[in-house]
Symmetry: C2
């Protein structure tokens, strides 16, 4: 794997001087074309051994290219902000939008590799993390990201020479600490961990490019040319539409018409006389839970989906009524903004994740892709088909970040929806709540029901279960939601 | 995940009787069209809980369809033959060719699920296995296999009822052993392991279809209709060519022209006077190793690749000269046969894997895909790009099966190749060894060299390293190959 990066590659001064001007010009042109067309973002991951010129190369790329369209992120120890979110959050927030280049100096590879080399990570955990990285990068590739991963390598002899040289020069002596020599001593251990990491994550969609780091001119020109070639090829490629896929069925058909939605007991009613007291008792219980010291180390995430006029807003208000306004945020999900459209689909949900000790309430959510986008054809079949797994991966990340996730589907009958639509249309202050789109959605009732059943089947998990709520009676729905939230938080604390 | 399979789905007798004739006719028609067009194979995986009707459904499918084009495999304990090969071998050998249907009753899911439920498999090992299954199934899908996975589910109550019923009937009493009741006791544990397994392997290319197993008519009709729908959709879909991909670069370019091939020391020569003795000593050493009792538990796999006229055949003969003819097989790889073309790419290599205690010598190999097929355009870019990872997965399976894998690239200069070509053309009994194709390949020398370097970079691993041999001097090459094989076997035993 590292054979070709131990050959002593070099580029002489003259050739370097001759090649660089044209390379820079071409890189700037590619950057310009990219930022004009906004066709895709470029993510450059930089990894490798100490002293192999990672930092110098990053600096050079910044010098060669237009700094307005390139951004470098060095990931050191996590900040407070970052420690309060799932581990991948810091990388998501740094993803460049379409048209821009992001350089990741240190990345999602750093922790697994260091963890495994030091022995803090067991082999199984390490391997599993590599598989998750593979899936994460597949998702990026599917979302159109051009992902280039450069690994800077030095043979053991070359690394020793390099560290000695840095140490011998008064201006660079500070860069070689006892830690570097300690790492050097474990060169073989590091190498074999890296070999596994690189092999397992060298995929057809994002292969590692191994660059010999000993000669500065060679490594700079190699990275520059590779970057240029990959950007140019992608920019100049004709736009192609996704192939018509023959998708396998997502779930077994329900031949007798019975579905999880039909199993929801719509006759469930709250006793109007007792409702006030019951509501107050549940809200008190939730309030107490939210002030439990253990809650400070957790995050509560509530997801509300449901048919139009099912009463999501009302249910949400009964939750927030029990909480301190400083500790919750409501995230209403509408069409994505321009900035959000320039990013992978899940980006706009990652950016709104609340920190530890907070409650995040999503009024509609990442399930839009397998509901409205699927039914209305806003995305390709391939896109929503892969979304189930991406969503499960996302929610696994949430669980890793100690989130408590409750997902609600508010279900009501077609008749009751009609009654509410007509009531809204007739009532002055409710008129704004009913639009032509609501009527159009209603026509696709059956398609939506099918999508909901598939969604529950594919994404209701132990870590993040769906709760189907009868919303036929608003009061009963509100009590049921509160009750479910309280029970889940109690079980988790 | 199992919600919709606990609703008590039923189909009444009348509807069943009315629907089945049309379904059977349509299934037979689909089977006929499939076997005529030979466009793809169908793999049906059957899994689920005890008593949920798995066996009955398999029997029914066999009854409904044309038995000439369908084959059922029930995987119980592994046979001697199978235990002597890597774990996945038994499934590979059972894959149906294009145009046929294979039913896998028990599959690659059985061991991981049982292992995890009984606690014999640790969580990490289990999860990793699921990831490998995912990759295996992705490979099948990429190779055109229509993969349908049915999971037969029963709620705890339904399972109890079913077991009691079987027990109460004299004709079926034998089917309920203490083991079934023991499994039933651990219903929750089994369910939660299965939930993880199904969730992690419900991918867009091969989702699990969960079927409620309580009602025989419902489950039969559901499986039949789903199978029909999926086959029909795939048969009727228009043929589409692969999209032109903008492939990321596979490896960093070598700007100074230095490659692992150029680093091979072609001036290496054997001393003709000492050659005979050296050869004999090495052959004796290898012979002794092959008779070591520990060797009986291992398999030695030698892969020979190299430019035309590099001397693969001669090197192989010096190996076999040291071995007992009952214990080795030479597998010369030429164009695939019709039967092989009807299977996934790696199938023809899997089928030729030798058992424990044997030596398998591949004269050319699975690397054809990233060499000749890539250079000559015999497969799409997407195909050879994904092959590196598939090959690494394959060789990991070999390592799991306790194989010792040595891979040789025999390298020689362009001039020396020309000399040998001309010598062959001039020598009567060697003329048959030189064809127009050899001359054509020679014109693509540089493209082949690039492919070889990428191959070494992407597939030389600790488990299965590449050894680059200077073949400029045939005697030196033969000694180097023997020396490498002996050293690797000694290290492994």
């Amino acid at each position: 794997m590292f054979e070709s990066a131990e050959l002593g590659h070099t580029i002489d001064k003259e050739r370097f001087a001759a090649d660089v001007p044209a390379l820079r010009e071409a890189l700037l042109q590619a950057q310009f074309d990219l930022s004009e067309s906004k066709r895709f973002p470029v993510v450059i991951v930089i990894g490798g051994v100490d002293g192999a010129g990672k930092g110098e190369t990053v600096n050079l790329l910044n010098e060669w290219m237009d700094p307005r369209h390139i951004q470098t992120y060095a990931f050191g120890a996590a900040s407070d902000e970052e420690r309060s979110r799932p581990p991948m959050w810091r990388f998501w927030r740094s993803l460049p939008p379409r048209g821009k280049i992001g350089i990741f100096f240190g990345s999602w590879y750093t922790d697994p590799i260091i963890g495994r080399v030091t022995g803090a990570w067991k082999e199984g955990v390490f391997r599993r993390e590599l598989e998750e990285i593979q899936r994460f990068e597949k998702m990026l590739a599917d979302e159109g990201v051009l992902l280039l991963k450069f690994w800077f390598h030095l043979s053991k002899t070359a690394q020793k020479k390099r560290l000695k040289k840095l140490e011998g020069d008064a201006r660079t002596r500070w860069r070689v600490t006892p830690q570097e020599w300690k790492n050097f001593k474990n060169y073989e251990g590091f190498r074999s961990v890296c070999e596994v990491a690189l092999r397992e994550t060298s995929t057809s969609w994002a292969p590692w490019l191994i660059v010999e780091g000993a000669d500065a001119r060679y490594r700079s020109l190699t990275v520059g040319q590779t970057l240029l070639g990959a950007m140019r090829a992608r920019i100049d490629a004709p736009k192609v539409k996704a192939l018509p896929t023959v998708a396998p069925p997502v779930a077994a058909p329900s031949l007798d018409g019975r579905t999880v939605l039909h199993a929801v007991d719509l006759s469930r009613k709250a006793d109007p006389a007792a409702y006030g007291d019951q509501l107050e008792a549940l809200q008190g219980r939730l309030n107490l839970l939210s002030r439990n010291p253990k809650f400070k180390r957790r995050t509560l995430l509530l997801v509300f989906e449901g048919a139009d006029a099912a009463g999501k807003g009302g249910a949400i208000r009964r939750i927030t009524g029990a909480l301190d306004a400083r500790h919750y945020s409501i995230v209403p999900i509408a069409a994505p903004t321009e900035e959000e459209r320039a990013q992978p689909y899940l980006w706009r949900f990652w950016r709104r994740l609340p920190p530890r000790g907070h409650v995040g309430i999503f009024d509609r959510s990442w399930y839009g892709r397998v509901l409205v986008e699927r039914v209305e054809g806003f995305c390709s079949d391939a896109d929503w088909l892969r979304a189930y797994q991406e969503i499960n991966d996302f929610e696994e990340q949430l669980a890793l970040g100690r989130f408590i996730v409750c997902k609600f589907w508010l279900h009501l009958s077609k008749d009751e929806q009609l009654r509410r639509f007509e009531e809204r249309a007739a009532t002055g202050f409710k008129k704004f709540k009913i639009t032509d789109e609501d009527w159009r959605n209603r026509e696709k009732w059956d398609a939506y029901e099918g999508a909901v059943c598939d969604m529950v089947e594919r994404t209701s998990t132990d870590l993040a279960p769906w709760t189907l709520i009868s919303a036929e009676d608003k009061r009963a729905a509100r009590l049921d939601v509160l009750q479910t939230v309280c029970a889940r938080v109690e079980a988790a604390l």
